[in-house]
Homo-oligomer: 199 residues x 2
């Protein structure tokens, strides 16, 4: 299984964000939606072995995490608007989820939980190896990757310094994807392509 965790610093934690203004009122929900597309879609098929966790840390009710699982997802279209509408629907259920961090499935392949970024990392580490995507890391093309890798990355602001330290302590390795600093969705595409070539 391939997993991605994106830290969304301003990602909205209310279903009231405006679909016509995903960058502003959604706290860059457009970016999160593109990350979902990069993780799960191929041309004409879905990546059933992949899933993504969006750690939402924006106003007014952080922390929340929403996950999309390619093996179970149904009836979702790969465009920013559609995916954001599904995120909205998941957020509409946030008041009935447990404070203990249990997952609530809100649609086939989509679930929400109340947990911090750190709690999410710990949960995921139990089932795979963490890799931090960071421009100062080692070249992904030259590194060996464990089975069930979990790739952690930031949004347009990058991971906050303290979060970088946290992930560095937990991660197997810090990986760079090339000589440029890529958009989050581009990072995911490059990693998926690298994994496709190996397995």
């Amino acid at each position: 299984m391939r997993k991605f965790i994106i830290y969304s610093g301003k990602g909205a934690t209310t279903p009231d964000f405006i679909i016509k203004d995903l960058p502003g009122s959604g706290g860059r929900m457009d970016l999160n939606a593109r990350c979902v597309i990069s993780t799960l879609w191929l041309s004409g098929s879905m990546r059933e072995d992949s899933s993504i966790y969006i750690s939402l840390n924006g106003e007014p009710d952080a922390p929340l995490v929403i996950t999309f699982n390619g093996g179970e997802l149904r009836k979702v279209s790969p465009d920013e608007r559609s995916i954001s509408i599904w995120i909205k629907k998941a957020l509409e259920r946030k008041d009935i989820i447990s404070k203990k961090g249990n997952w609530l499935e809100t649609h086939d392949g989509i679930a929400i939980a109340r947990k911090t970024f750190e709690e999410l990392l710990e949960e995921r580490m139990k089932k795979g190896s963490l890799y931090l995507l960071h421009e100062t890391g080692k070249d992904v093309r030259k590194e060996k990757l464990n089975v069930d890798p979990v790739f952690v990355l930031g949004d347009h602001m990058g991971l906050p310094e303290e979060k970088v330290h946290t992930v560095e302590k937990l991660a197997e390795e810090k990986l760079s994807l090339g000589p440029e600093t890529y958009l989050s969705s581009q990072c995911i595409t490059i990693v998926q392509n690298e994994l496709d070539r190996r397995y």
Copy 2:
């Protein structure tokens, strides 16, 4: 310079397409917009050496081509909605463009012309080498690429068979990006990453 040409089989050729329905009424304008993002944006900067040509072949007034040039683009945000609004604004000017295929700049770094896919290929070949992106091609990581490459690709329907033959005749090489068939925007990201590693 790096250039991409996308053949958009159903891309709307009217400014009346609905922003709330980019996949349907826009003829997959969401996909075209994501290709613009993949071509031109990095994290925190733009690729000033890159541009993309969208060959629009949908109803009701094909053929038209819209181009986005990273070296000149100003005030455009990297999300599907914003980019589609700029495409709409370019299409609003289509009735005043020449039938001879001359380019009309409709905004800094955005221009429109009335030309067929084939006319676009011929125009671009004069200034660079064409490469067809196709899953049956040779592995991009192993091939030498000429300077000023122009990469040609299809949308979610793929390039129609006859267009594949046309491009095959003109292209330097047919290139594959990995063992999967990727979304158009993902193809562009993978190629850009490969070029970044070389130059």
